[in-house]
Amino acid sequence: MSGAPKIEVRGLKKAFGRKVVLDGIDLDIGVGESVVVIGGSGTGKSVLVKCILGIIEPDAGSIKIDGQEVTTLSRGKREALLEKFGMLFQGAALFDSLLVWENVAFGLIQGRGMERNAAKKIAFEKLAAVGLGAEVGELRPAELSGGMQKRVGLARAIAATPEIIIFDEPTTGLDPIMGDVINDLIVKCVRDLGATAISITHDMASAHKIADRIAMIYKGRIIWTGAAKTIDNSGNPYVDQFIHGRADGPIQMEVRAL
């Protein structure tokens, strides 16, 4: 990474009651860089990205986007800042009550006040960019398969040409082939837009494919970060255990009998 970071996270802390989820996260993400955050379930990956988006308020620490501190922004300024972001949610989070094209065009119509017909045209272009035909645009989200919903979610995330795109578990719940299709689409969309990308996943195949750099989070801290191609030789026993999916190692899963 060279130059000023697009996103700069310092000493980020967040606890829910007595459970400490983030315990001093430090992370820099460069302009146009694709960083994948890996880690086990419940280690705070989703909380980290929700803090960056301002959906969750951190207890302490700093988040800067383009050098601007965002944790102290007013609600109005935060909403304006969110125009820089696009997000693909784990379950796609499509709006059930709207047609597929209305979902894709939502940010353009509601967020940016674009006229409906112009937004509809862009929505169909974005649907085509993720490999979906015009007929899909007139369906309801409930009529789509999981893979198609993810594609629509991706089309929605890129519709407003964001500077930063966040992918939350983009391949979870998909078969390996569809997972790879989504990975290819993510790489293509991020490259075409020149966007900065943050992805969170436990899918190592996905991480290898879409990451320039990988950061591993464990017990609320970043314990390793490095280029994606170096992760197989990280020399970090936690990373080794995680990427090889071994039950034995320094990471002990909390398993409680019912």
Partner: protein, 256 residues
């Protein structure tokens, strides 16, 4: 005893926390009602959902309420030789009390539950977070249209319920109890004043606000998947029903 006191304290603190969250949510929702952007298309859709689609159930309950009221009033007042006031009691009871309360309770059951379930499902499936990431304020987009629709449509529903309820009383009065139709209508019209109707409509607006607000609040704060959405739905109906009866007393004591 040493365990008991901290438990009481925790319950009290939790109660204060919940009351504070509810107050903040209410104030925030109200303040957004007066600030642009306004989603007129959504307000219209909610008005149809809350108002138009509630008409059958509200109409049915109103007609039966009026009919039963006429029967009971006639039975009770006959014992004092005052059966002739049946029409007056029916019209006053329906417009001042039963029309607004019965209609609001029906709307609470039908709409409060539906609002809580819809917004609750959006919460647990990340759709509300998705709204935020698309530069759309979820309060403005989800809560404000429902509150405005509740405020506007429940009084209209109550006005219709009043007419249907009085008509139910008229049917029983004339066809079953043997009142002369013209005399019944004359008694109804002579004893009905503007304040009887308007006070019922004021109540209806408050009840509409309560139903929409409680549905939105419980849905918005639901947690934990399907079970959480189910709990939110139950809480929305129970809390709005209790609040309707509580505010009915408060408003009655203020208005009369």
């Amino acid at each position: 005893m040493t365990d008991f006191l901290p438990s009481i304290g925790r319950v009290f603190i939790n109660f204060l926390g919940a009351a504070g969250r509810f107050a903040m949510f209410t104030l925030s929702a109200l303040s957004h009602c007066f600030r642009p952007p306004f989603y007129f298309r959504l307000i219209g859709r909610q008005m149809v959902d809350i108002g138009f689609y509630s008409l059958p159930v509200v109409g049915l309950t109103a007609v039966f309420t009026g009919m039963v009221l006429a029967l009971q009033t006639n039975t009770g007042f006959s014992r004092f030789g005052a059966a002739s006031v049946t029409a007056t009691v029916v019209v006053l009871s329906v417009t001042r009390e039963l029309g607004p309360v019965i209609a609001a309770l029906m709307v609470a059951g039908r709409i409060g539950a539906s609002i809580a379930a819809e917004i609750g499902t959006m919460r647990v499936t990340d759709q509300i977070d998705a709204l935020s990431t698309l530069s759309t304020n979820p309060l403005k987009y989800l809560v404000v249209p429902r509150i405005i629709a509740g405020l506007v449509t429940v009084p209209i529903l109550v006005l219709i319920a009043d007419i249907i309820g009085i008509f139910g009383g008229y049917l029983v009065g004339t066809y079953k109890l043997g009142f002369n139709a013209a005399t019944y209508l004359n008694n109804t019209a002579q004893n009905l004043t503007a304040i009887d109707v308007s006070s019922g409509l004021i109540k209806a607006a408050v009840f509409g606000f309560i139903v929409a607000l409680m549905g939105c609040y419980h849905g918005y704060h639901s947690r934990g998947g399907a079970q959480g959405v189910g709990a939110a739905t139950t809480h929305a109906v129970v809390s709005s029903s209790v609040m309707i009866l509580l505010f009915d007393y408060v408003l009655t004591s203020i208005l009369f």
